[in-house]
Amino acid sequence: MLSKRLFKTASFQLTVFFGLIFAFSFMSLLFITYWTATSALRSQMQSEIRAQLAVMALEAQSDGVATIIQDIDERTAPSDRQAEYYFLSDGKGKKLAGNLDGIVPQEGWRESGLSDSILAKPDGNADDDHQIWGQGVFLSDGSFLLVGQDAFRVLSAQESIINSFAWSAGIALLLAVLAGLAVSRGFLHRIDDINNTSLAIIDGRLKERIPVRGTSDEIDRLSANLNRLFDSNQSLLESLKQVSANIAHDLRTPLSRLRQGLEEARSKTGNSKAYAAAIDSAVIEADQLLATFAALLRIAQIESGSRKSGFKTVSLTSIFDRVTSAYRAVAEDQGKELATTLEDNLDFDGDGELLLQMVANLTENAIRHTPSGTRIILTLENSDQGIAATIADSGPGIPADLRDKVFEHFYRLDTSRATAGSGLGLALVSAIANLHAIRISLHDNKPGLLVRLDFPGR
């Protein structure tokens, strides 16, 4: 299955493509080398032959043709391996000397037709492969002299060029294909990892992750990003499960109280005051349920991000001012102090209504979850790092390990749920902060809780 797919992979196809380009460039290189080597060797042969021709022609002119005949005879003596060829004929075409025969006198360089004219080999060896290249010239007395050489130098050079190219091209191609296969296989293997992990996650095994090699190449980066996607997917699904469970739990309590109250009211006969009281408490329970739903809807609406389109420049200073003036009296009545240090004219692009609610919720939390005598301080300032705000109290604070949890839906530090509240206040704050890219962090105020809001730069 793997091998079939192998040929379909992009990397294998790429390998084949590069192999072809490689082969083509090899062919060009071969052609150029062949041509250059051949012509270099040929001109070397030519100059040797011409030099010899010139010498012999000069001899013939000064000492007569007979000298050359003797000379040729000496040179063609059946001694060692014959590499030089001669032909001399008089003006009427009659052969005078040489180890070639039947040459038509014709001036100039020739590379063909000479090997057929070789006289019987001295060693009796009929070596048909021999090619002879030579040059003919008419001497001053009308006789014709041809000097030739065996072209084996050129031919064997040509042959070895072709051979070496054939071998190295073969090896290179083989290597290219093997490398391509190996790369494709490795690539496929990693793609398979990604596929298998994805399938596992679709299958519900949310904890599976793609192995990352740490090479930080493209596939590694892809795997790491996908892993992050899976992480957020997992945490979203888990929080969804958690939220569903919490909703079920949080709505059960008021619903069952509502039901109990109604049942009790029904059992009481004729007492209109008791009826009224039962109905009143039923309405209160129902209102609380509705408030929880409204908060959930609001969070969902904020998280959908649709509010972003309505962002305007709003004054953070005035938002903090409004919150402070609304809650100062509330804090005072509970024996707490609400103080501020606000920098003037700090603007921010956002949703004024939501930002107000965010600051109000955080301030309310500081008021509601602290004992009498607590001092609550709101600050707003612009520094090099951008606009930052803090809402700090001197109350009991939140243990470090629980600080992240408080932003979850329905999370309440008071597990008995004795205090009023939906447990959605900070989830809403978190949703609003996320919408505005505001970084929200909880710190130890020593004593108490410090909530820090870092607004993004404009």
């Binding site: 409204a294 809807l297 609001r298 509010r307 309505g310 009296a329 009545d333 949703d351 008021i367």
Partner: protein, 258 residues
């Protein structure tokens, strides 16, 4: 805070005669005796029945349209003190009804009554020309109080610099409050609260109405913002006097009367 709907007074730009009484309210806060003529455009039968019965019990007369087209026809052809409209209606939605009414110069006070409680939905509704927006489910007292507030819109040219309710007087320019000649010192928030209550003299205002109009808060605070300021204001304007002017209407809201 100045009532933000002031500019949308029914007499503004329209040809419709102002049929509302010039002095619509007696000193009594009760809305039973006013007898408004209302139009309810609501397709849900049970909700309509509940509202119509409640309105009747409080002495109002109400016509009912179960779809958008009938609603628009009635709103355009009859003269109503106020229109209560659902936003999602068969045929023609509430938003379109209000837009069409406004485009023909009909400025009948309109209150949207809807399950669409999103922030955008409210803004959209008010921008279309509605005067108020109430999200279902709602307390009937809230609806009554808001209808009352719609009736009390002062004419657009009526820019008063002093308000008076009984022996209580407030100078909006100098920001001085006196009761029976004695100066009362108020914090800015208390002043705003009192101003709104005086403008709503004799009527019930709900906690939500105060949050929206005094603090411009469009969410439900988890602490007693309204109660705290009311009790502080009450301590300042009522303490040491024989009659209590700022009354708490249990389960409904507050009312200021002479």
């Amino acid at each position: 805070m100045i009532d933000k709907f002031t500019v949308k007074s029914p007499t503004e730009g329209g040809t419709k005669p102002d049929i509302r009484p010039k002095q619509p309210y007696t000193a009594s806060w009760s809305q039973k005796r006013v007898g408004m003529k209302l139009l309810l455009i609501e397709d849900d039968e049970r909700t309509a029945e509940f509202i119509l019965r409640g309105l009747k019990e409080h002495g109002h007369v109400a016509d009912h349209a179960a779809n958008g087209k009938d609603g628009l026809f009635l709103a355009a052809s009859e003269k109503y003190d106020a229109v209560i409209a659902d936003r999602m209606l068969p045929g023609l939605d509430g938003l379109s009804i209000v837009k069409m009414l406004r485009s023909t110069g009909n400025h009948v006070p309109t209150l949207f009554l809807t399950t669409m409680g999103g922030i955008d939905d409210r803004v959209e509704g008010l921008e279309a020309g509605a005067d108020d927006y109430l999200v279902k489910p709602f307390a009937f007292a809230e609806l009554l109080a808001r209808l009352g507030a719609l009736m009390r819109r002062p004419p657009v040219n009526d820019v008063k610099t002093t308000l008076r309710v009984g022996e209580l007087e407030i100078d909006l320019l100098k920001r001085i409050v006196t009761r029976a000649g004695k100066t009362v010192d108020l914090q800015p928030q208390e002043f705003k609260l009192l101003e709104y209550l005086m403008r709503s003299e004799g009527r019930v205002v709900t906690r939500t109405m105060l949050l929206e109009n005094v603090w411009d808060f469009h969410f439900d605070p988890q602490t007693s913002v309204v109660e705290t300021h009311i009790s502080r204001l009450r301590a300042k304007i009522d303490k040491g006097f024989d009659t209590e002017m700022l009354k708490t209407m249990r389960g409904v809201g507050y009312s200021l009367r002479a």
